[in-house]
Symmetry: C2
Subunit: 343 residues, 2 copies
DNA sequence: ATAATAAAAGACAGCGTTGTCAAATATTAT
DNA sequence: ATAATATTTGACAACGCTGTCTTTTATTAT
């Protein structure tokens, strides 16, 4: 494969195939009205010359460049890496380029910066992930650009064609039932950052599962964290120091669940004999702590692919054929056990 | 700020400033030989119209597009995310675009795919991270492209202008001394994947520190893992089941160190009283396990910035002014303690 | 066989920049 | 003041592609 210096242009291909450059262009873009025979001829020339269309020239000539932006802000490298790889993989397959744009929430100029970025990079579509996809001020601004966008796991109310969701509610319902079936009645819950809407769907699933089982959620068993390990530690300390402490704790994400495990260790509360703990996300860390956490696995790569798929459909005005709700799945590990009366 | 529809072109700016488009182009690219007065005029027009040069047109017109590729393959989202953000941040500041290209080692067509990608995306420079930057077959192929490249933390022998290094050797020396100073004499070591050269610098640092302290490294205390948690578990089991087990273990990365902690827990070996454990990398997970790991912190973001900085200098033929060896630093947490004779 | 129509192919002008070279203007030396 | 030179500006052709419109060729109907 000859890479070094590859200024093979559409003209070279046209010359070799003995057609006009426009015909080559037609073949490249699979436009209609090209004779089968001609297509073969052109493809042969393309193969022979190892021709690659120049994306800059294409973008310049087209009104809509095939470029999309992935805008994120997440404290969790694990999350964004996998979603990003899904997006990249899908886009690469369909000839789109992706520009990655990390931002910081704490930055006051977040919105202006993001708008500037979009303008500068001339993307034609946008994907955002939580918690950014939950940030109404930003999403409103994006709306004004009337540029196709996809919100991943957003709690905001937008059209189905503009979001990719996971079934956080159902998964939470299920993992709560996992605890209930094991005899737990006093179950503590550590909510996530209130502004992260999607994480809060997890509380809803928990709440409804409890209700269905005729169990009450006492106020003292509900704590609110910020999704971080440190915030989880504070909540865990309160929960586990209660005179009548819960026999199980469901934390809205793995980091906070890991904090529960750590605090329990410090208080010499044995997991899972005396306390069951479950998290959410299935970060790799869940397998590295002792005991390994029971949690919910999210197919992040798939979510990234679906987001790209949907966005490209919007961009090209074709209909989306992919899955609509991406299913998470319960992963049972060593942090949950049957509740023993004796304790 | 008006974003929607911003087809402000260089011509619009030229009209408003009453100069030719070429003069505007000169100002944009800070070319010499433009009167101070003219610069002011043009800048005013640019500000007023909120003009952004069209990067596609620029790339098309220039011989060298301002685009670089970040090619990686890493099992560690934490690592790549931070390096990537450093690269992005620096590049954005200097008007470069970044294309991210994740690959899989297990893919037989890795090299061909990568070459195809480079050709397709028409980047003018490349950054790679370990373990890809340690993969001679790939780097050789990249060499043939005679395209500027930077290898991050590579163990391969290349010119200093082509790599960004951390002082893994010194840091390992230091963390080993940390153990030695605490009275440890029998220290086990879990090496990383032999093909990850940079991780193996860590063994060298360990080995030399031991030698300097006149301590012997018995063969049975040296294990070789694959950088993964699972591989670490296997090594840890062997090490901790030795009849005369080490009083401390240094694992070449945090994942494997976490495995040592987990195995120790299972065997009811108390950390740090009966066993000290140290890792390397300072992944967030190190703070979530109990006890929190003593480890070495790598300034990943900075490394990404430095890589981008060096690459852009190579690309633009200016001289690199940044740091040359990026300093890691020892982070002492709860997994290390003084060795007590009694045990 | 001929006209009417559909399908296929081509010519050519953009898209928004930068590079090259020529023209205009300012500066310096005589 | 004039010539010689340096500085500043501008005209115009690329860059490699796609969109529009026209021309050619193939197909069908009469």
């Amino acid at each position: 494969m000859n890479i070094k210096k590859s200024p093979v242009t559409i003209q070279d291909v046209a010359n070799r195939a003995k057609v006009s450059i426009k015909t080559v262009s037609r073949v490249i873009n699979s436009e209609p009205n090209v004779a089968e025979k001609t297509i073969k001829k052109v493809e042969k020339a393309i193969d022979f010359l190892d021709y690659q269309p120049n994306a800059f020239a294409q973008s310049l000539a087209r009104s809509q460049p095939k470029i999309i932006a992935l805008i994120y802000n997440t404290p969790s490298p694990n999350y964004i890496t996998h979603v990003m790889e899904g997006v990249l993989s899908y886009c690469y397959k369909f000839g789109y380029e992706v520009i990655i744009h990390p931002c910081r929430f704490d930055d006051a100029s977040l919105i202006d910066d993001t708008k500037l970025f979009i303008k500068k990079s001339r993307v034609s579509g946008i994907i955002t992930t939580p918690p950014l996809s939950d940030f109404p001020e930003l999403i409103n601004q994006l709306d004004k650009l009337d540029m196709p966008k996809i919100l991943v796991s957003s709690g905001l109310v937008v059209d189905a064609s503009e979001k990719v969701n996971t079934n956080d509610y159902e998964a939470s319902f299920e993992i709560t039932n996992h605890l209930i079936r094991r005899g737990h009645k006093r179950i503590g819950f550590i909510k996530g950052n209130p502004s992260h809407l999607c994480v809060n769907q997890r509380f809803a699933g928990f709440f409804d599962a409890m209700k269905e089982a005729n169990l009450v959620c006492e106020g003292e068993l509900i704590e609110t964290g910020l999704n971080s390990f440190a915030s989880g530690e504070i909540c865990a300390k309160r929960l586990l120091n209660l005179k009548n402490r819960p026999s199980a704790v469901f934390a809205a994400n793995d980091e906070m669940a890991a904090a529960v495990v750590k605090v329990a260790n410090q208080l010499s509360i044995d997991i899972p004999q005396s306390l069951s703990v479950v998290g959410f996300d299935d970060t790799p860390m869940t397998q590295m702590i002792s005991p390994a956490l029971t949690t919910v696995h999210q197919p992040l790569f798939k979510m990234g692919e679906a987001a790209a798929n949907k966005l490209i459909c919007n961009l090209e005005n074709t209909s989306y054929e992919g899955e609509d709700d991406i299913k998470s799945r319960l992963v049972v590990r060593d942090s949950t056990a049957h509740f023993l009366k004796s304790i």
